[in-house]
Amino acid sequence: MYKYILAAALMILPLSAQEVKEDMQVPYISYEIKMGENFDVIQAQCLMCHSFGYIINQGPQSKAFWAGKVKKMKVAFGMDISDKDAVSVTDYLYQHYGNGKLK
């Protein structure tokens, strides 16, 4: 009987002292994003830092909101984007994830 308990304890011990020694793999999830004009810019710029899930799960928003997000990514987070592409990204986001309001 005691032998069994000891055996069980030995089996549990290495587990409790366990460390993740090898690289952890963060899985990729594909988020369904709408296709449309300027999607290539979205793919090039937004995916650098975050998934499409980050866009989709903001909910439908105003044009000013999306313009503000693009500005935040550029000014606060250092996104390297031309003014023209910034407008394209805003237009895309508002067209596909907009709430119909400019402000």
Binding site: S16, Q18, E19, V20, E22, D23, M24, Q25, V26, P27, Y28, I29, Y31, M48, C49, H50, S51, G53, Y54, N57, Q58, G59, P60, Q61, A64, F65, G68, K69, A76, F77, G78, M79, D80, N99, K103
Partner: protein, 399 residues
Amino acid sequence: MQRRDFFKKSLVVAGTAAIGSSLEAASQPIDGQKISQVAFPQKRPMITYSDRPPLLESPRDVFAQAITPNDQFFVRWHMPEIPTHVDLEKYRLKVNGEVDKELSFTLDELKNDFEPVEVTAVLQCGGNGRSAFSPIAGGIQWGNGAVGNAKWKGARLRDILEKAGIKKDAHWIGFNGLDNAAYYKTPNFVREMHMEELGDHVIVAYEMNGEELPYLNGYPVRLIIPGYYSDSWVKMLSNLTLTTDYQKLFFMDVAYRIPDNETETEDPNSHEKVKTKPITTMNVKSMIGYPTNDTKVYLNSHVTVRGVAFDQGKGIKEVLVSIDGGKTWESSILDDGKHGRYSFREFRYTFNPGKYGKQTIMTKAINKAGEEQPLAEDIGWNHGGYKYNGIDTVTIEVV
């Protein structure tokens, strides 16, 4: 006429009152979201808003118990590059800035050279429940599950700083973790805390519910600041820097802020900038873990409602339950509070549903300072959708 009244009336006139709430009011956050089929490392499958950075929410039924299991604990990162491996041979927690001598500690030194302290504390994202706000507030549309409660074990932050020697003019502590941005220009997720906020329960934790921290929750160590929203609980903590003056930081000065007025609300239709303040401490809240929306129960059966309640550490006095849509409220049975004032308190309430059809269950927590959880519709709007704490409601079906 109050703005809100105006909107309620205009809604009725427009014949859209079926929405059920005024344009500026909150309602219940989204619930019953799909659980991903893909599990993240050391986690069970969870509600998954993003893979990069990982944003994982706990399903509602986790909140039927006081301690949230590590493998169902919510995850929220800000940067795309999180280390997928931490080499403990190389890992150091560095202390620098306004200290007598700069020091660095290995994980073993943090465990062995300091008195271990345990604190059970709620970790909640400031945007938990954001999806309740209308118009839709900016940010991830979290349901109820960006919150959890764990027993944390670690070294007191004060002990670590004192070992390095706190200089007289050190007033601020800056915290940085190992996560990195994709662009060099992106600000690190650095946080600051005033020395006055440094209580004995603020710890650098290396253990979560008796195990090492899951990677996605900040392995090998993270900061624990009981009573405060999780934006300052820096994960994979690597640096403690003492400074004389407050350092300007994006994640302190722009993000995680609410209107600096008594009600902490603002008018969504006004596009003027309001004066803001950091979200800091948590407000009183309860959540139902069982039953969940659309649960079916039999007529006259015994239904035991289970859930959790918490606040910033003033202590939960009671949790009231209503099964008649909020007309009458009854006390529930609270657990013995053995996990302390920063922990979830479990509550339970048993009733016999006496009518077929839909049955709502509402819960309202009240703390020892007399602060009550408000009705969702009485919660005003803020642009970041922070600090939602509406009375929780689930609707079940009696068959």
